[in-house]
């Protein structure tokens, strides 16, 4: 069918199975993961119960996520929503990260072969370190430096909020090779874990939500890495260099934005699905008018999540077709996360004071969801990007 928002049957089936599994097998550990600020110790055994391949980094032999005719990026949307529907702790245990996406976007063919392809084949955890204490949105403010010293680049600076930074096999670190050049001086460097001078100052921040995710404060103190670790730059054949990649890094991130929107939709849908049967069981406690209002709210919330899914599809189809739209990706990320916060809060409110109790996971998902409108480009930044398609550089 042309112009249809319906996923193929095989992808629907895969996503449903994933969702049911994450709900029954993973969700029971959600509270523990939140309190311990990390994945449950038996995470491998929990993942072993999955009836479908998840693309695990620790057990690549169990298989990658299958390929569906819908397209890889559409598949990712279904995957993000379904796995996070159980709870947010599960996804990072698969490995992953976004450092490898930057390698893919910025690397020379040789670099892609060395750092991207293996991750795709066997899985693996990578991290992306752009943000620093002094900036987040304005990535031109990179203060971390990389100075050439004969056969190496020497990196100095500190990176904040690096997801998975403490245990990734490598971190893609953004540093400037020449402050005079401004944004054009910013380059990305692959810094493998264990490189002397790569220090984890704080493994995990004390956060409002997604507490089981590792959010690390990193410091690079005269951290020397090989020359060939500068992405997009061919040390032996400079003519093969593909550029510094500052813009490219953000481009690579843009494709991941709808995935974050899908994650938020997963949490919001889980919240609606948790409260709906509870509310139905309590229907007798509501006046008929109020019960109508409750039903109307549930209906409106389900409909708005569908809107978020459709924008996600619109954005990611463009990536699968090889003509990615940054504007649609921004629209997707600008829409669903903020909407998801409001949906989860309304689910809590409909239950009343019992909705905020730790007896249920709603209060946790409310905390978890807030970051989706902040990281990988805040809601305001997404609006600027969308605005630029309309009015150009004046938006901002």
């Amino acid at each position: 069918m042309s112009y249809s928002f319906t996923l193929s049957r095989p992808l629907q089936d895969y996503a449903r199975t994933l969702r049911e599994w994450s709900t029954t097998e993973c969700r029971p550990y959600a509270r523990q993961a939140d309190e311990q600020k990390g994945r449950p110790e038996n995470w491998r055994e929990i993942l072993d119960t999955a009836p479908i391949p998840l693309g695990r980094a620790d057990k690549p032999e169990l298989g990658q996520v299958p390929t569906f005719e819908d397209g890889d990026w559409i598949t990712k949307l279904a995957f993000y929503e379904a796995i996070n529907y159980g709870d947010v702790w599960v996804h990072p245990t698969l490995g992953g990260g976004i450092g490898d996406l930057v390698v893919k976007a910025l690397g020379t063919p040789k670099q892609v072969a060395e750092w991207y392809d293996p991750i795709q084949q066997r899985g693996g955890a990578t991290a992306f370190a752009l943000t620093e204490p002094g900036f987040g949105s304005d990535t031109s403010m990179v203060a971390t430096t990389a100075v050439r010293d004969n056969d190496s680049w020497v990196v100095n600076g500190s990176k904040m909020y690096c997801t998975g930074g403490a245990f990734a096999e490598y971190v893609v670190v953004f540093a400037t090779v020449d402050k005079e050049l401004g944004a054009r001086g910013i380059n990305a460097f692959v810094v493998p874990r264990g490189t002397p001078g790569f220090n984890v100052v704080k493994e995990n921040e004390d956060k409002l939500g997604i507490r089981s995710w590792t959010t690390s404060l990193l410091e690079f103190d005269d951290c020397a890495i090989p020359l060939e670790n500068r992405l997009g730059w061919d040390v032996d054949h400079p003519e093969n260099s593909v550029g510094n990649g500052y813009g490219g890094a953000l481009g690579a991130l843009a494709f991941n934005r709808p995935n974050m929107a899908a994650l938020a939709i997963g949490l919001a849908q889980a919240s609606i699905d948790v409260v709906t049967p509870i509310l139905k069981g309590q229907q007798a406690g509501f006046t008929p008018q109020r019960w109508s209002a409750v039903e109307r709210d549930l209906e409106a919330m389900n409909a708005t999540l569908e809107r978020g899914r459709r924008i996600n599809y619109l954005a990611q189809v463009t990536v699968d077709r090889g003509r990615p739209s940054r504007s649609l990706a921004a629209a997707a990320k600008g829409f669903a996360p903020e909407t998801a916060e409001r949906v989860i809060r309304r689910c809590i409110e409909l239950l009343g004071p019992e909705g905020v109790s730790k007896e249920l996971l709603l209060e946790k998902w409310y905390r978890d969801s807030k970051i989706m409108d902040i990281f990988e480009g805040s809601g305001q930044v997404q609006r600027i990007i969308v605005g630029r398609t309309l009015v150009g550089g004046l938006a901002g």
């Binding site: 949105s137 909020y161 409002l208 939500g209 829409f335 009343g352 905020v356 807030k370 805040s378």
Partner: protein, 372 residues
Amino acid sequence: MIDLEPDEEQVEIAALARSIADELVAPSARDAEYAAAVPDDVWLKVFETGLVMPVAEEHGGGGVPGPLALLAIAENLGHGDPGIASAALWHAHAALLVGAHGTAEQRSALTRLATDPGARSAVALYEGFGRGPAELATSVAVEGDQVRVRGRKVGVPFAASADPLVVVGTDPATGAVRAVVLPHGTAGVTVVANPGSLALDATQLGAVDLDVTVPVSALLGGPDADPAGLLATVQRLRLLTASTAVGTALRAVEYAGQYATGRIAFGRPIASYQGVSFPLAEAMMRIEAARAELVDVTNAVVADPGGDHGTAVGQAVSYALAVAVQATRDGVQTLGGHGFIKDHPVELWYRSAATLSALDFDPLRDPFQARL
């Protein structure tokens, strides 16, 4: 005649509450959360100000502040920390109800509340389901010289320890609002264990199941209590809680505004971007509107306690809480990633406002709006 000048008492009390909030309450917010209790020294000092124990002098208290002064206390303490403020104020609510409507014997028991800083009392009011106080399903039935109380209360402060616990319900015979004063340990009061909440841990919120039979002397104000007056005071308690949330909203906006003037992005302080300053400005506009509404509706309730204020109170409460939820949300958003970590207090306010909004929520007043 319109007169927007607060009187001397209101001004002085507001200033005192703000200074306590700044110097004592705000700095202890995290401690109170981690301990799930207001630290003893903080409680003692707040208690000694007399701001949160509205008990007449004849019963050992410092006097009962006027209705608008109470609103100002709630707002200003909420500006310091919604957790500590709510703990102190919800304890005060019991004294307020008993002082205004209790029998002589019930009122004389206020001396303990007024003089013992270790005392914790509470009003069990909320039931969820969007019910206003006139619609409470908890039944308070007079059966001869006994009174039977049955129902489930949620969002009860100091649920496991309140002494007394003042339970508000309705009389199944007349439909009128009634309340009973239950000492701690009354048979038939079952506290449902609560593993904790999104926020306001210092208030020790919980649910309480009631199937209690006590002598009629436990009825607040006795069998002939005036239900209209009682209902009016209960409505004021809801307005006071909403006022706490308004104080928190204001603090979040001020904090975020301050941060935005110092944080640089794209060559300028982020406050210079409308994407940052407009949400905070919207919040300021609405905070003014919400506070004015709380004052106006409080005045209306006080002026005519027998009148039907359900709609006006419901509107005021629902609006103020929605404003607080959005303002505290925008507080987090303004700080970006830094708003998401506990190094800054905005995340605490975000959780607290959502908790308050779940307490007193009516789906009829505030339908979910999908963003256009």
